[in-house]
Structure formats: structure tokens, C-alpha cells
């Protein structure tokens, strides 16, 4: 059995007795085992961490569909139409040559502006941003015009709006951003 040497470092008899081995052999075995254990531990933790992250992204969502129909171009007269603001958060705007759909989100911090027919402008109640009838900003803190939703005509000729694809002001002339009338 191990006797306690008078030296400063005390050596304990571990609860599980070990057979005597040459120190170099013990050291090599220990290093391999140590590395194996640590690799397994870190590997396990890393795998679980990745699983943990992936867990927060569900594969299917149950949100209302961003694609919907709003009727025929002939349903809309010149100017701003607010009939779908409460239901879909959009305004339908018809000019002399185009029909497009503005997504009713202020480009400052995301509130829903109000259409004021008397003043012929959209006014955001949150911080006072003002937009003209085509959604172009001209007053207040808004940094750019309001976005427009993708529009196209289906087989019957109905307007199909897709608010998951929004066009910024640089893209207003792209084919999906308006319907020629």
C-alpha cells in the first residue's frame, strides 16, 4: 500500500485501487482517454447546441396566406381605394395608365398610415410622415416611399395580390409592381 511520504505533496489512496504500472505507460493511456472523453463531451454538447438552435425554426407556419384576390381592375376607379385596408392592409391605387397596390406600412417605424381624401395625402399618425396619393413620401421622418405589393392577373382576369413580395421605390417600374390599364 502507499505510505505517506514526508514530502509536502500528499498522495491519497483512491477509493478504487489501481494496479501498479510504469509511469510512462499510465501517462500515455491517460492522455488518450482524456482526449477521448473531452472530445465526446464537446461533441455531444456541440451537437445538442446545434439541435437547440434548429429547434427554434418550425418547418410549417399557420399564418394567414399572403396571397389573395381583390376583384377586377374595372372594380376600381381613379385614385386611392381604401376598401381592403382593414382586411389585408393594402390600398389600391389607380392612375391614368397603371393600377398598383401599396402595402400600408409607414417606412419610418412600421405604423399603418391613414388616407385623407380632403388633403389628398397619406398621413402616419405615429410621427407625422406624409405621402402623396402614389405613396411617395414628402414630409416627416419617412426615409423613402411606401412599398408596393406584387400584383398580377389570373386566368379569369382577377387581380391577385402577393404581400410576401414587396417592391421598393427603385423597383416600381418592374413588371410585377403594377398592372397596366
Amino acid at each position: 500500500m502507499k505510505t505517506s511520504p514526508p514530502a509536502a505533496v500528499e498522495r491519497e489512496a483512491p477509493a478504487v485501487e489501481q494496479t501498479a504500472e510504469s509511469s510512462s505507460l499510465t501517462e500515455t493511456v491517460n492522455k488518450l482517454r482524456r482526449r477521448l472523453v473531452w472530445t465526446s463531451v464537446w461533441g455531444f454538447l456541440a451537437t445538442n447546441f446545434l439541435m437547440f438552435l434548429r429547434f427554434f425554426f418550425p418547418r410549417a407556419l399557420f399564418e394567414p396566406s399572403p396571397v389573395f384576390r381583390i376583384g377586377y381592375p374595372s372594380d376600381f376607379s381613379l385614385g386611392v381605394d381604401t376598401r381592403f385596408q382593414d382586411q389585408y392592409r393594402i390600398w389600391v391605387v389607380r392612375t391614368t395608365d397603371r393600377l398598383f397596390v401599396i402595402y400600408a406600412r409607414c417606412t419610418h417605424l412600421g405604423c399603418t398610415p391613414l388616407w385623407s381624401p380632403s388633403e389628398n395625402k397619406f398621413k402616419c399618425p405615429c410621427h407625422g410622415s406624409g405621402y402623396d396619393m402614389e405613396g411617395i413620401n414628402f414630409e416627416g421622418p419617412a426615409p423613402r416611399p411606401m412599398d408596393r405589393a406584387k400584383v398580377e392577373l389570373d386566368a379569369e382576369g382577377q387581380i391577385v395580390v402577393d404581400v410576401s413580395r414587396l417592391y421598393t421605390y427603385k423597383e416600381f417600374n418592374e413588371p410585377g409592381a403594377y398592372i397596366p390599364v
Binding site: 505533496v9 500528499e10 477509493a15 439541435m51 437547440f52 434548429r54 429547434f55 427554434f56 425554426f57 418550425p58 418547418r59 410549417a60
Partner: protein
């Protein structure tokens, strides 16, 4: 020398710039050396020392002691224990395993909470959602449920071991009572969790359970002497548990809050007391030297 430098005006400036660049390069070399040293021996950096306050080589007794006492997660343990207490055959490890399972359940439970709405409309569908549309959701739910069952088993085995080793005797009687309370809390946690999927299994289990509540003497509307004391289905103890007279949306929400907040908090507090008392009562009770019948001391009169 200096007078010469000063006299040369513009050239002196150039000299100074060259000197400064030299000095900078020297310093850069030194700092790079230091950085390389730091990377080779991170334990010597102040960054490391500020986080890990005690040295990490574990071979000296002082460091082994500090590893436990200076560590916020480990200082539940004493620095040393009875040499035979580390044998599995004495404690079976069931107390520690129960605690570990509690932590696993808390962790998996919190993750499950991200996808669960405690309403009649959504609860069941959320479980389906977890099982099919959430990555690793099925695994997580399974882990939570099986860890719960395993914890009930380990808690029973822990109690069994404590009885077999007489570890409830003086001075540990109170800790045993705290343990019984923890057992009841574990069963209640299991029971409240059982209802949350809002499926037939959970719904009827809770119906049977709370119907037993209505039979409580004195405070249940169907128990002995209950109606005589004015108990009706709308004001007895069962009503208090369910938040109503039927197992419906109120019952679900109450079960959810009991399960996720109130009972875990109580369990945590009692576990704190339980571990504290283990230390204060002298640590793990054994294995203790055997006592002979002839060594029994006479009874102390209280």
C-alpha cells in the same frame, strides 16, 4: 549630439520619425511575442484569471479543495467526503440523479413552452405541431415525458435507500420530512403535466383525480359533511382547483401555471432546504461504522 540634431532642423525630424518607427516595431515584436505566449498558456492571462479565480491544475490538495469550494455550481459539495461514500453500493446515487433529472426536465420543459399555447383550441394541435413540424420536437417531448417517469422512479428509490440505511434518524428527521414534501411535489408536477396535451388520456386522468377532490370531507361538495357546510359544485375545493365546475379551459390554464411556475418554484425552494440540511446535518450519513447493541446509550429524557 542634441545640439547637432537641433541645428539640422528638418533632418532632425526625420531622425525622430525613424526612431519612433524603430521603437514601434520593437514594441510590436514584443507584443506579438506576448500574444503568442498568452495563446500557449492562457491560464496566465488576466482575462482567464478574472473568470477562473483559482488555478485549474488539480493535482495539489489545495487546488482540489478549491475546485469544489470556489465553484458556484459545485460548492454544494464539501471539500472531502467519507472514503466509502463514493461507492455506488452505498447511496445508489438516486438523490443526485433525481436532481439531474429535474434540471433536464426544466430545460426540456422551457423549450417545449416556446411552442405551446395553454388554450383548449390550441393545446392539442401544438403537441401535433411539435411532433411533426418542429425540428427535434418529437425527441424533446419524448425526453420530457420519459425523464418525468424516470424521476418518479428515482425519487422512490432514493426514499427506499434512505430507509434501508437509516439515514432519516437523528439528526436528519426534518430533512426526511422535506424529502416527503418533495416526493409529493414530484407527483403533483407529473399530474399537472399530464393534462397539458389535452388528449383523452390526460383529460380523463385529471377528471378522475379532481373528482376525488369533490369527495374530500368537509370541503368537497360530495364528501362527508360537505353539503352540510354549504359546499356546492361552484364553491368547493374542486372548484378552486379547476377554476370552474368542469375540466375546461380554466383548468388547463391553471394546470399549466401550476406545472410551469408554481410547483417548480416550490420544488426549487424545498430542494434548497433539502440540500442545505444534508450539509448542515453532517453530510451524507455514511457508510457509518456499525454500532453494537451493547453500545446503545440510555434514552435521553426530553
Amino acid at each position: 549630439m542634441d545640439r547637432e540634431k537641433e541645428g539640422r532642423g528638418g533632418v532632425g525630424v526625420l531622425e525622430r520619425v525613424r526612431e519612433e518607427t524603430e521603437q514601434l516595431r520593437e514594441r510590436l515584436k514584443e507584443e506579438l511575442e506576448e500574444l503568442k505566449q498568452d495563446l500557449k498558456e492562457p491560464q496566465r492571462t488576466q482575462l482567464w484569471k478574472s473568470i477562473f479565480r483559482v488555478p485549474h491544475e488539480r493535482t495539489t490538495p489545495r487546488n482540489r479543495t478549491l475546485a469544489v469550494l470556489a465553484n458556484v455550481f459545485l460548492h454544494l459539495h464539501p471539500a472531502r467526503v467519507n472514503r466509502d461514500a463514493v461507492r455506488y453500493s452505498y447511496t445508489w446515487g438516486m438523490g443526485g440523479i433525481s436532481f439531474y433529472l429535474f434540471i433536464v426536465l426544466t430545460f426540456t420543459g422551457v423549450l417545449l413552452m416556446f411552442y405551446y399555447h395553454p388554450t383548449k383550441v390550441q393545446a392539442f394541435r401544438d403537441i401535433l405541431y411539435l411532433e411533426h413540424d418542429v425540428p427535434f420536437g418529437r425527441l424533446l417531448r419524448n425526453m420530457h415525458r420519459w425523464a418525468a417517469h424516470l424521476m418518479v422512479i428515482t425519487v422512490w428509490l432514493h426514499m427506499f435507500r434512505v430507509v434501508l440505511t437509516g439515514s432519516y434518524k437523528r439528526p436528519r428527521e426534518f430533512n426526511w420530512c422535506v424529502g416527503v414534501i418533495l416526493l409529493v411535489l414530484t407527483l403533483l408536477l407529473s399530474f399537472t403535466g399530464y393534462l397539458l396535451p389535452d388528449d383523452q388520456l390526460g383529460f380523463w386522468a385529471v377528471t378522475v383525480g379532481t373528482n376525488m377532490a369533490r369527495a374530500t370531507p368537509l370541503i368537497g361538495h360530495e364528501g362527508p359533511f360537505g353539503p352540510q357546510l354549504g359546499m356546492t359544485p361552484y364553491n368547493d375545493v374542486r372548484f378552486a382547483l379547476l377554476g370552474g365546475s368542469i375540466v375546461d379551459s380554466n383548468a388547463l390554464l391553471r394546470a399549466y401555471i401550476w406545472h410551469c411556475i408554481a410547483l417548480p418554484l416550490m420544488a426549487a425552494i424545498f430542494m434548497g432546504v433539502h440540500f442545505w440540511r444534508v450539509r448542515k446535518d453532517g453530510g451524507i450519513s455514511g457508510p457509518a461504522p456499525v454500532m453494537l447493541e451493547s453500545e446503545m446509550k440510555p434514552v435521553r429524557k426530553l
